[in-house]
């Protein structure tokens, strides 16, 4: 496994791979790798000759009051984990190499970012799109894999790729959860033992929404109200949003149907967690 820190060297390496006719899969990460990241890498591994992952905590996607500084980092452990799933190249650039003095370009997706996390994290998705566009141009992938836990991120990046005619296939990978249901996230490392219990309220409220739908409830407001009640019954929770929305446009809907997205962000103490579920009709064969 090769570790590359220089933007220029990574780009030359990617171009050389392409010139040899190799296909490239990219898994962009912010490091502090866990099982869900490794699953993205296994998917990438199956789809291309060369698997590149990037590890870069991207400052421009964090707001001024957010957790850029304290975001967890452990590059040594990350490299071991990457090697264990057959990563070929780990790209770990420095901030100055990615954003040299004079940097001033932004990639923005307009409508999709007006909902969900875009409302409470202004500028966040501009930062995400801009860094992903850069990573794509540096690592020149044929495919790139993103997790569905960040549902809106996946939607926004897919839109950017389509709109700017980037010749890259985007693969969305299912959410990976802890045995008790908590969606895996590097930010789970922030949680105290007590908070860890409260964090289960996200998944439980999503399960409640699915259950109510199966029971025949279609009214988004009624389902949202019950989800809010459930979350608030746990200590140290503060809801950022609970959205019941169209899975393509992310616009709020008043009635649920097959495929409706239920997405939420909840503060557990000082830690903001997100989760989501696409509502399914009941499998009549089971």
């Amino acid at each position: 496994m090769e570790v590359i820190e220089s933007v220029r060297r990574m780009q030359e390496r990617a171009e050389a791979l392409r010139a040899q006719g190799k296909t490239i899969a990219l898994v962009p990460t912010m490091g502090y790798l866990h099982e869900a990241h490794l699953e993205l890498m296994r998917i990438g591994r199956r789809h291309a000759d060369t698997l590149i992952i990037s590890i870069f905590v991207n400052p421009i996607q964090f707001g001024p009051t957010e957790d850029f500084e304290r975001y967890p980092r452990d590059p040594e452990a990350d490299l071991k984990k990457a090697e264990s799933v057959g990563v070929d190249i780990v790209f770990m650039p420095g901030v100055e190499d990615m954003y040299p003095e004079g940097f001033q370009t932004t990639v923005s997706v307009r409508k999709l970012t007006k909902h969900l996390c875009g409302l409470s994290r202004p500028g966040h998705f501009d930062g995400v799109c801009t860094v992903v566009a850069k990573l794509f141009n540096i690592t020149k992938p044929h495919i790139a894999v993103f997790g569905q836990k960040d549902y809106q991120q996946l939607a926004v990046i897919s839109r950017m790729v389509m709109d700017l005619n980037m010749d890259i296939q985007i693969i969305g990978a299912p959410i990976i959860r802890e045995p008790d249901g908590l969606a895996m996230s590097s930010r789970n490392a922030y949680l105290s033992e007590k908070e860890r219990t409260s964090a289960l309220s996200l998944k439980k409220s999503l399960d409640l929404a699915q259950e109510m739908f199966w029971q025949g409830e279609r009214d988004a407001q009624k389902i949202r109200d019950e989800m809010v009640k459930l979350i608030q019954s746990y200590p140290d929770t503060e809801i950022d949003y609970v959205s019941i929305c169209d899975p393509i446009t992310l616009e709020e809907v008043s009635e649920l149907g097959d495929g409706t997205l239920v997405a939420l962000a909840v503060w557990i103490g000082r830690t903001r967690l997100i989760d989501n579920k696409v509502i399914e009709v009941q499998d009549t064969n089971s």
Copy 2:
């Protein structure tokens, strides 16, 4: 010479050329080709195995009151001219293929667009950057050639390419002028005979600035005043801006030096023309 209208087919063709190890040069145009465009193509021709030009009047770089509808078009003549300079592929996409329903992504360069034409044409450079990013992803060039008449456009695109790590060499080509000095532009077709004479005021005012510099004048305000006087002495002229600025940041300077940019935009009747000159020290050998 091949003519391709489909975005998808153009992208597949470009990818196939790259897979064969061919280098690609792109000259993006809005058509109504004249000698200055052909010069860009000759430069592209010298730098790559395959020369692609695009002809696309890009709606999103025109403001609501601007001349998108009446912008001159002559695709048949364009194809003949392109063939005469050895173009391999002409890419002529339709507006619906470039901007399908739901399109919502923008590429913006922030600081450089706050000056010169960016002030009087809000959103113009967002439209330019966005379409150029798309054209780059569709035609996959190794090099792209742009004219220096659109000095700010060249600066903005170069900045975008650098900031987003696009692996493309940008070449700026010298301004091509009519025998009497008027910078070549498709918009010159709008000018009446009388306006054609007034249009010479742009180049004459730039020559005046250079002459005053050679005479020892360094005060930007004094030079600007004389340029304005000269332009206003011609009928049907209305100055949009006369800028004396840093050639890299495009910020106004109070004193001229070697390499200072003098750039201007002037309305001649209903036609807005631009021109510029980089101030040179006198060649002591001549």
